[in-house]
Amino acid sequence: MFSKILIANRGEIAVRILRACRTLGVEAVVAYSEADRESLAVQQADEAICIGPADAKRSYLSAPAVISAAIVSGCDAIHPGYGFLSEDEGFAEVVRAHGLTFIGPPPQVLERFASKEATRRLLGAQGLATIPGSNGMLRDDLHGLEEAERIGYPVLIKPSAGGGGKGMRMVRTPRELEAALKICRSEARAAFGDDSLYLEKWLEDNRHVEVQVAVDRFGHGVHLGERDCSVQRRHQKFLEEAPTPALGDAARGELADRAIRAIVAAGYENVGTLEFLVDPAGKAYFIEINCRIQVEHPITEMLTGIDLVVTQIRIAAGEPLGFSQADVTLRGHALEFRINAEDTQHDFRPSSGVVERYLAPGGPGVRVDSHLFTGYEVPPFYDSLLGKLIVWGPDRPTAIARSLVALDELVIDGLVTNLAIHQALLRNETFLAGKMTTNLVDRVGAAAFLAAAAR
């Protein structure tokens, strides 16, 4: 095991990683930007180190700052959390060059899965159905038009790098495609420094289902079930649940089994998530892999009782997994609500300010992962995630009933939050029937969706 880990992230995930380190009895150092000086992770940490100014490019996204901080504070490993440097194979390589361990897949594994398009071919060869798409990256607009014609409209433009909905756009005509390619290219360049794009067949009324896997250095891998992340707004997930209501038990098991077989065969290592689109007939198409801990990992922890961050650290330290597929049992149903500082009344505009009063809900099945506290000033420089409310129940209706109570109990005064969209969802018939698709909110628009629920 490592002797000391640098936590190179902020917000709720820094708090979460700190908990994992302390549970393992490993020392941890929280790396923070000037804007996060008063953050909960810094306050809870035994040791914290300022790595740069508020601007993420000069702090959380600066590989030299992060690695230098790890070296001078005596760390032997770096946990990148999600976002920021977490999927940057160049960063992982430099970390290794400095004799430190990147907590995640080793650099050569990250590199193998760095291109979404290549990953699709790699796992397609291992027996996963993949969504029809362009043959490699788009060389230019003409190539894009030809490939879209071949695949058939509508198609989804996707960037090779990154995630979170940036540089993604669905188009229904060649004319829309041409216009969108330019926008996506500049968005992708701005967000990821890489403007390579590719195309995917767009499935109407699809579901987003992902399989959580964990593979150790010795090629021993297990899946930890799947999660349903169909509830999205503009390609951004904001409510996840498990198990997925989209598939029956047999189909869920089969999907997860195929995923873990393919990813072990492809030489993956550490925790990761395989994302699939599921069409109305229940057929699952692999779309991409996330080589890091996901925001929505807690719902899998609620079902399996397995600590995914601890597992991730152990694997990175070279330990064997220590449990087999038979040891993984899923119990009950869990939902995760991303609580964002967003104004649902004004196009989900991010908000910031001081948390005048914060009170987390409690009781059976309720877990809160958050970095809030009464008096915390939310800085305006980073993403709008304030925390996650995770609610477990023995079955989906109970989990939903408890969620309504917990959402009602949650007090965050002083900030505008997106609580209203969660409450609207829990009163939406399509959602309650478990029939939500990725276009549930966007089809009518979030404003209309909220208004409909209020009636």
Partner: protein
């Protein structure tokens, strides 16, 4: 307070009115802009203290949730860089670290050296690449706050630069 006459009361009222109508709005704006928790002003016998209601908030939170730093031996073990709202020293200013790394002062810049704002007085090595540490003001190099080879974090105060002032200025200030 015995025998205050009507005139005195009127003066008081005028003072308070002045405070209330003219000064308070400006002060409140100031309080909002600075991140300070409390401001106090005096006019005549009157003193008004403004305290941010979110006061429990920022400042207190630090005290309440903070825990003492337990650094192991050989690790970084210094105060976090001064918060922006910390009072500035009137007679000196600290050169701060531009990055997290290892500090090396320039050998030719010793205590007592005269420097101008922007002069390079040392460097912080970040993965072997030196980042310049510059004097923030014109002055004389004073006490070093860290040693050559020490690990430093971003924004950490490294060395004092004593402000230069003419004897007249200094006399005026001290008078």
């Amino acid at each position: 307070m015995p025998d205050r006459d009507e005139a005195a009361r009127l003066v008081d009222h005028a003072q308070i009115e002045g405070l209330a109508d003219e000064l308070l709005p400006a002060l409140i704006a100031k309080l909002g802009a600075t991140g300070l928790g409390e401001l106090e002003l005096r006019e005549g016998d009157w003193r008004v203290r403004l305290r941010r209601s979110a006061d429990g908030a920022g400042a207190a939170a630090k005290g309440a949730l903070g825990r003492s730093t337990r650094s192991g031996p050989g690790h970084l073990d210094h105060a976090h860089p001064a918060a922006p709202e910390a009072p500035r020293d009137a007679y000196r200013s600290a050169a701060t670290s531009p990055a997290v790394g290892v500090y090396h002062p320039r050998p030719e810049i010793a205590s007592g050296s005269r420097v101008r704002a922007g002069d390079r007085i040392g460097s912080v090595d970040v993965l072997g690449i030196p980042q310049e540490v510059v004097a923030p003001v014109n002055g004389i190099v004073g006490a070093g706050l860290v040693e050559n080879g020490d690990a430093v974090e971003y924004g950490q105060e490294l060395v004092w630069i004593e402000l230069i002032s003419t004897p007249a200025e200094r006399g005026g200030r001290d008078a």
